[in-house]
Amino acid sequence: MEAVDKKKAAAFWGLFALIFALVPAAGNDYYLTIANRILVWGMFAVAFNMLFGVTGMLSFGQALFSGLGGYGVGMTVKYLGKAWFLPGLGLGVIAAALVAYLLGYLIIRAGGVFFTILTLAFGQLAWQITFRWYNVTGGDDGIQGLVPPGILSNRVVYYYFCLVLVLGSIWFLRRLADSPQGLVLRCVRQNPSRVRFLGRRVRRNQRRVYLISSVFAALAGGLMAGIDSSIHTNMLNWTTSGQVILMSVLGGIHQFFGPFIGAGVIMIIEDVVGARTEYWSLIIGLVMMTMVLAFPRGLVGEFALLKARLKWRALERAERS
């Protein structure tokens, strides 16, 4: 059984990598950008879901970290020059790790709704500072012209660069989710007191996953800066946090790849509909409401359930005949 699972997993990863690796072959810059966005947002959503779906911590402030990643790139390039794109990416990720480490101590003491409130408040604090500190951050104008240096300035090369980083990150997160550590995180969601009985520390585990999730959020933000060649304060706004939550809920929070699928669907809907309507928030609001009320398992979760039901029915029929 195990061997079959392993083969299945290998086939899945192979197919996943292959599909995205073939996109540049279409030779269309527009599709390339969309595929790149799906990859990066997908990683962001999967990392966010380690917090929400796995550990049960609904953060409404992950934009703080994607913003740190983006501004890490933006500020270093702005002040030190184009060649500093990659060090800037690293700097943003390190900054996010530091902030997440400190914030973790500050806000994880508060459980449940309070965690959500405080993540939102700190996210908005960072947004306000960036927005108002015009001399340093460029405020509402953002920072433009963030072209990656050297060979990375080629869109296709940059795409493959992102693909490798995203695949590596998602593979790491998958390993983490399936590891004993991941099991503890799931237990933290389902029954914190039991976790304590077992001699594990609830808050320490929560801080750990908060840190990990935030680091990948920052990586996503930094990569995004390269895709758009610019950064903007909107990256830090709470709507970005809401977007990544929506992706996870749409795809399914209790499925590892649900958020990735959700990211893909949202990116495509945004591309098809977003340009034609000024009522984008009404659309995503209705999507969110529909998912919460009618399909709480998300697209992938409901699909898996449907598949299981059909299989079960087929088995039943086979038994009768």
Binding site: G56, R109, F114, V249, L282, G285, M288, M289, V292
Partner: protein
């Protein structure tokens, strides 16, 4: 820095504190009684402001009647939202998260519905007749409308406290907060209670929005700014703690008044600053009782 300047600033801070408390009280009421976290509370505040604008500009109602009507309108919309949508997810596994997500979808939807109905441009509402001027004693200039807001706020606080502590519906609400199941067995219509309390909470939000409309211009998207301020109040005061919320609102209102007078550009950061300091030294909230929640 003379004494009259301080008094003027104090009253301006008190006005803001009153508005903050009024919003936060609705939020904390429905959380305390129903265990519902209404992320969209700020959107009902915004609806209240827009409704008041329509009643005054469109139907030429008296300002105070319009404010009352706006509160009732926000209350009715809140009751609809609760009974049509929120009620469906009570008791679901991991309900808390889904409550936040569902009320978040309310924010998004209400934001755009407001744009559809009222357009995107700023709306402004003038102060009611008789409250346009200021009281002047020597150097001290106090806008009468601010004093009126403080008065209305006091009325609402005392009224709400009386209803909650002295009347039968108030007792039912408090008992429901403690034990919903037992209240159901005692013959109380718990779902109806929840709907009504949710309506009262959103009406408080709408009332505040309507009262604040002459001071701040009415814009779509105001919901989220308001909710964050209200949430900070609730975090500082302790969720479900009526008087704690009042003290926290007072603190934030005054801090904000001082900040606006000294560093207006960065004033909006000061509420966050208070929150951060509080979290470092007293994470359970400034006025929460000692033995609270240990999750």
């Amino acid at each position: 820095m003379d004494i009259s300047f301080l008094i003027v600033q104090f009253i301006s801070g008190l006005t803001m504190a009153t508005l903050l408390f009024l919003v936060a009280s609705g939020l904390t009421l429905i959380f305390g009684v129903g265990g519902v976290f209404n992320f969209a509370h700020g959107s009902f505040y915004m609806l209240g402001a827009y409704l008041a604008y329509t009643f005054v500009a469109g139907t030429h109602l008296n300002f105070w009647v319009a404010v009352l009507a706006a509160a009732v309108g926000a209350g009715i919309l809140g009751m609809l939202a609760e009974s049509l949508f929120l009620r469906r997810i009570y008791g679901r596994a991991e309900e808390e998260g889904f409550q936040i997500l569902l009320t978040y979808s309310f924010i998004l939807i209400i934001d755009d519905l407001v744009k559809l109905v009222w357009g995107t441009e700023y709306k402004s509402l003038s102060r009611p007749a008789g409250f346009g001027g200021s009281l002047i004693w020597g150097d001290i200039t106090l806008p009468t409308y601010n004093l009126a807001i403080i008065g209305v706020g006091l009325l609402v606080v005392v009224g709400a406290w009386l209803v909650l502590s002295r009347t039968r519906p108030g007792r039912i609400a408090r008992a429901t907060a403690l034990d919903r199941e037992t209240m159901g067995m005692l013959g109380v219509n718990v779902p109806l209670t929840m709907t009504v309390v949710f309506g009262i909470a959103t009406a408080l939000g709408g009332l505040t929005g309507a009262l604040a409309a002459p001071l701040r211009s009415v814009t779509p998207g105001a919901g989220i700014e308001v909710i964050i301020d209200a949430l900070i109040v609730v975090v500082l005061g302790g969720m479900g703690n009526f008087w704690g919320a009042w003290l926290a609102a007072l603190l934030l209102g005054e801090v904000n008044a001082v900040a606006v007078a000294t560093v207006p550009e960065w004033a909006s950061l000061f509420s966050y600053l208070v929150m951060v300091v509080t979290l470092i030294f007293k994470p359970e909230g400034l006025f929460a009782p000692r033995q609270v929640r240990k999750v």
